[in-house]
């Protein structure tokens, strides 16, 4: 899965399932401000990532991400690790 597919997949579930305005989803955008998720939403984000990319995020991994770009990179890295394995 290439990076652009990863980004479009992320955007798709953020817009469809989390009702986030697509125009706010830019690489430099602040992740927490943009997603504005509460503790329940984070559980659902873990579910969406697992169902779309096949790996489970540890909730604490989110705390290391600052921008949307960090989020894309994180998913890309995890997908690559999964493919290599």
């Amino acid at each position: 899965m290439d990076k652009s597919t990863i980004i479009s997949t992320i955007h798709h579930f953020l817009v469809e399932d989390f009702e986030i305005d697509e125009s706010t989803l830019t690489p430099e955008a602040d992740l927490k401000q943009t997603l504005d998720l509460d503790s329940l939403d984070y559980v659902d984000l873990v579910v969406s990532i697992e169902s779309n990319f096949g790996f489970k995020v540890k909730p604490e991994d989110f705390s290391k991400m600052v921008t949307m770009s960090d989020f894309y990179d994180y998913v890309e890295q995890k997908v690559a690790e999964k493919t290599a394995a």
Binding site: E19, L40, D44, V47, E50, K56
Partner: protein, 407 residues
């Protein structure tokens, strides 16, 4: 101090209509909401008959978080409650300033339980059921959802009493207001219709298998009835004390004047005559009425051979020669189970306000018990001022309500 309790709001979302006006028309014309579901047959049901209730589209009405927290029957309850609030002339801003309660009948959350556990089995990881599952699987799910959506701040209680849940919810709301503990309570019942909701009930062979004639399958009191047809939806009534309703200038629809209840103290599923008869007598006594004062009796009669016979015996035992008009709206709706006691108060109040009695459709030939009742086989254009609604449930729980017109 005892308070008089009035109904100022009603809402309905069922297989015979998605609002009061549609339902009124269906009741008047004797329209059935029953279908044969191929999905149920494929799943392994003995009977694929069910009431068909279309799920509402809540996108645009509620945000994502509110929507994903609700199982099917909470959606129906939400729609019914929105309509009840409109008819009562109250909204969320009213609930912010006034202590309003919520007592809702519900006795299952099958789909969320099964799908959640299936997900854990598959993934071996509880987190992957998502955040909403726990709020959908609890029996109090309708209360949890509606009380947070509407910001309610009074009594917040789910009532589980099998197929008498909705009726007891109204009865309990009546008691709270009558005794002065609350001024206004939203009462009702909700029932899911998904394929996971009824296979255990189907297992008992209690459902009609007249699959070649779905709209004729539910035939309460008829000699050739062969079982009930499960159904569902949501029904809400708003109760308040008379002085509270008058003080805010509310339009009063009717008055709850009697609540009777009993437990059979016998078999877990076999019906009894004594239990319902005691509930009926208690209700009449609470209302201060005689049998001859009742103009219409909305029977519980679900179309099962044993249940209808027992109820007919109980009605005859209590009413005898003072027999009122009797009909079971379940011929049209099927058995709305946890919702039925509340929906049948909505149905009967609609009839009372619009001066007709809905027909007990599919009643073609009486049996030895129903022949003693005065069953409305066709729509009766008639005025009545007082009706009684019966609801009975597994475990032998019985509830009767008497409602009087308000003019």
């Amino acid at each position: 101090m005892s308070h008089r309790v009035v109904i100022t709001g009603m809402g309905i979302y069922s297989c015979i209509g998605k609002n009061l006006e549609e339902v009124k028309q269906s009741l008047y014309t004797g329209k059935s909401g029953i279908i044969l579901s191929p999905e149920r047959k494929a799943f392994g049901y003995r009977s694929g008959l069910t009431g068909f209730v279309e799920r509402p589209n809540l996108k645009g009405l509620l945000d994502r978080r509110a929507r994903i927290m609700m199982p099917e029957h909470a959606e129906y309850a939400y729609m019914a409650t929105k309509e009840a609030m409109q008819t009562a002339g109250v909204d969320e801003s009213y609930f912010e300033k006034n202590e309003v309660g919520l007592i809702y009948g519900n006795d299952s959350c099958a789909q969320a339980v099964i799908e959640g556990i299936d997900k854990v089995r598959e993934k071996k990881d509880t987190m992957l059921v998502g955040s909403a599952s726990v709020f959908q699987v609890l029996n109090s799910t309708i209360n949890m959802n509606l009380s947070t959506i509407f910001k309610l701040r009074g009594i917040n209680l789910t009532l589980s009493a099998a197929c008498a849940s909705g009726s007891h919810a109204i009865g309990l709301g009546y008691m709270f207001i009558k005794n002065g503990h609350q001024d206004m309570i939203i009462c009702g019942g909700g029932q899911e219709t998904n394929i996971y909701s009824m296979p255990n009930f189907d297992a008992l062979g209690a459902f009609s298998i007249r699959e070649d004639e779905p709209t004729k399958a539910s035939r309460p009191f008829d000699r050739d009835r062969d079982g009930l047809v499960p159904s569902g939806g949501g029904a809400t009534v708003i109760l308040e004390s008379l002085e509270h309703a008058q003080a805010r200038g509310a339009h009063i629809l009717a008055e709850v004047i009697g609540y009777g209840f009993s437990s059979n103290g016998e078999h877990i599923s076999n019906p009894s005559v004594d239990g319902p008869a005691r509930s009926l007598r208690m209700c009449l006594k609470d209302a201060g009425l005689m049998a001859r004062d009742i103009g219409y009796l909305n029977a519980h009669a679900t179309s099962t051979p044993a249940g209808d016979a027992s109820e007919a015996k109980a009605i005859f035992e209590v009413f005898g020669s003072d027999m009122p008009w009797v009909s079971s709206t379940k011929g049209m709706t099927g058995h709305e189970c946890w919702m039925a006691g509340a929906s049948e108060v909505v149905y009967s109040t609609l009839m009372m306000k619009n001066e007709f009695i809905a027909p007990n459709i599919n009643f073609e030939n009486p049996d030895e018990d129903s022949v003693k009742l005065k069953i409305a086989t066709e729509t009766q254009k008639t005025k009545f001022d007082v009706y009684l609604s019966n609801s009975f449930g597994f475990g032998g729980t019985n509830s009767s309500l008497i409602i009087k017109d308000w003019k």
